[in-house]
């Protein structure tokens, strides 16, 4: 991706342009900020610090006296070692989560782009109606909607039978089932991305569920970004004899990059940590990080290991996001 400066970022008023209302004291903004920031400080920043502290402590919740020991001189880095051995080396749950989320995000981008494009450029007076349609699935419980995929993808149901008849399932199974030539891949998809005869309880069901659940998070930023494009840029490209495809590739798509960045982040981050789709649509071997963290906290009670796992996920995602966001800047995203 080229680092073409996003025109949206340039057009947006920089902080200096914000006029301070006449007569406002210089501490007015701090008065406005304090209660909310305090809340975020106490219930977002402090817990994150506590999570890291827990990840370096020893003790378990369900045995002994149920207390945890944290000592600056004896930081329990072994919790991270254990988490790494258990969830990266022994069972590649960590890589699996990232790969599932990556595939789901790509799928979401491919599905959402035409939708956002249509709403932004081709919908005329139906624009508001279509935008309502995009958020309408949110109006009902996301657990119920995810669960509905069990009905849609039920074994030998119409959807699965159709995918079977056109050879799609067989194709996906064969293409993704690479036993020994690429061991790390084979570890993540031991039996291909899907079974030739079923979708439920395979990675494909989990990925489809993830892509489905975060589709509006991709569509809305894409739409916001496309909507801001000055249509005359695209007209200029076609006037200069570029084909529709070239105009899209060289003008429309680069100008929509801020939306692509925001949308992929808003999809990838929750998808990588999501425990619901894997639990409802996958088999036990499709467990993702969300499920592992949940299990360590709830069933094993090994809070330090669970905290290390959770912190590891956070660090990896923060690292990936900060590399990725460098091009967009948070002011643009917030």
């Amino acid at each position: 991706m080229s680092a073409a400066p996003a025109p949206g970022a340039a057009a947006k008023a920089p902080a200096d342009d914000v006029a301070r209302p006449v007569g406002a004291h210089k501490w007015t903004p701090y008065v406005l900020l304090t209660p909310g920031m305090l809340w975020l400080g106490v219930f977002f920043v402090v817990p994150t610090v506590m999570l890291v502290k827990m990840s370096l402590s020893s003790g378990t919740a369900f045995s002994g006296d149920g207390s945890f020991t944290f000592s600056r001189s004896a930081l329990q880095w072994s919790n991270y070692g254990d988490a790494w051995t258990k969830y990266v080396i022994d069972t590649p749950i960590f890589q699996k989560s990232l790969i599932y989320a990556l595939i789901a995000t790509t799928l979401t981008l491919v599905i959402a782009y035409p939708l956002a494009y249509t709403i932004a450029f081709k919908s005329g007076r139906w624009k508001n109606f279509l935008l309502v349609l995009v958020i309408a699935p949110f109006f009902t419980s996301f657990l119920l909607r995810t669960n509905a995929w069990q009905t849609i993808l039920v074994d030998s149901g119409p959807v699965v039978t159709f995918m079977e008849n056109i050879g799609l399932l067989d194709f996906l199974h064969t293409v993704t089932n690479i036993p020994d030539s690429w061991p790390s891949w084979a570890q993540i998809f031991p039996d291909g991305i899907t079974d030739p005869n079923r979708v439920l309880a395979t990675p494909l069901a989990v990925i489809v569920g993830l892509a489905y659940n975060f589709l509006p998070f991709m569509t809305l930023p894409l739409y916001a970004s496309l909507e801001r494009i000055d249509i005359r840029f695209i007209e200029a490209a076609t006037d200069l004899y570029s084909s529709a495809w070239t105009a899209f590739r060289k003008v429309t798509f680069p100008l929509s990059l801020p939306g692509v960045v925001a949308g992929t982040l808003l999809t990838f981050i929750p998808a990588a940590g999501d425990p619901v789709n894997a639990a409802l649509l996958g088999s036990a071997s499709d467990a993702m990080m969300g499920n592992a963290i949940d299990a360590q906290f709830k069933s094993t009670g090994n809070y330090p290991l669970a905290a290390a796992l959770s912190a590891l996920l956070m660090f990896v995602i923060v690292a990936m996001v900060s590399v990725y966001v460098r091009r967009a800047g948070t002011e643009e995203l917030v």
Partner: protein, 293 residues
């Protein structure tokens, strides 16, 4: 060489051309499809988004054979008739609504104040503020949930996990979404309207009360609706902070293993209908007003 008039030449040329034929229905059809391919993909995406919602509604009318409501068995309205006598559902719904109302109120107030500070004032630490607003949206819910659980455990409050801790968590993650929504509205405001009010001798308080606030209000209402739906529907963070308290999503999660009864689908269908009414009625009213004007 005989001379011919231009008209004769034209007639000759036309006669040499292959006869013009209307493109066949297939050719026209395929051209039309190619011209509208993006719209077809968009329609497909909308279909993908809506099929699960349709399934949720349809299966609220199912009378499942066993305990699992996955396969269509028989049409029945019994779930709709019996939904309010299922105390597990009504209890969990009550808890979810209470939590969502309190979280929405607090998060909307706190978030709106922050949005005004960011959108209307210059101050030191803007970057840090923006980062702190952005972080909860960029952190996986499992991480936030487990962090809060760790905080409550280390504070010795593991026994008091319940409605209060759920509400605290919901307010926390709703604030960012409120800020983003209200801030967008403030950024889109035409400052000349406020200047006009000031020019007409309105003082700051009056300008704020009569011009600024009413103009930002739709953004605040939208933010509150967003916060309500986020809180009402949250499962992942609630799962870590709920203790023994069962919200509606927690109830569904618990029921998923032993079979979600069609009554839960009824609640889903009602939620969908209500939200649709809340969103569509103002649109329709606006449309009617416009057509009258």
């Amino acid at each position: 060489m005989s001379t011919i008039t231009i008209d004769e030449r034209r007639a000759q040329a036309l006669a040499e051309l292959p006869p013009y034929r209307e493109p066949g229905i297939l050719a026209r059809g395929s051209r039309w499809v190619r011209a509208h391919i993006i719209q077809f993909c968009a329609a497909g995406a909308l279909l993908f988004m809506f099929i699960p919602v349709v399934i949720v509604v349809i299966f609220s009318f199912n009378l499942p054979d066993g305990k699992y409501n996955y396969v269509w068995a028989q049409f029945s309205t019994s779930a709709w008739v019996n939904v309010w006598s299922n105390t597990q559902i009504t209890d969990s719904l009550t808890i979810s609504i209470e939590i969502a109302l309190i979280s929405t109120l607090v998060a909307t107030v706190l978030g709106t104040l922050i949005a005004f500070a960011i959108g209307r004032h210059n101050f030191r630490g803007r970057g840090g503020t923006n980062l702190l607003i952005f972080m909860p949206m960029a952190t996986p819910e499992v991480v936030m949930g487990s962090s809060l659980l760790t905080l409550f455990v280390l504070a010795g409050q593991e026994g008091s996990l319940g409605g209060l801790t759920i509400t605290i968590a919901h307010i926390m993650f709703c604030i960012s979404f409120v800020v983003v929504t209200v801030k967008a509205r403030i950024a889109g405001l035409d400052s000349r309207l406020e200047q006009a009010a000031m020019d007409l001798y309105a003082d700051e308080k009056t300008t704020f009360a009569k011009v600024t606030f009413p103009l930002v209000l739709p953004g605040i209402v939208a933010a509150a609706m967003l916060a309500f739906s986020l809180s009402f529907d949250d499962f992942v963070i609630t799962n870590f902070t709920s203790g023994q308290t069962v919200t509606f999503p927690m109830y569904i999660w618990g029921a998923a293993g032993r079979g979600i009864p069609p009554e839960a689908n009824v609640v889903g269908a009602i939620m969908f209908g209500l939200a649709l009414i809340v969103v569509l009625v103002p649109e329709i009213v606006r449309g009617v007003r416009k057509s009258r004007a």
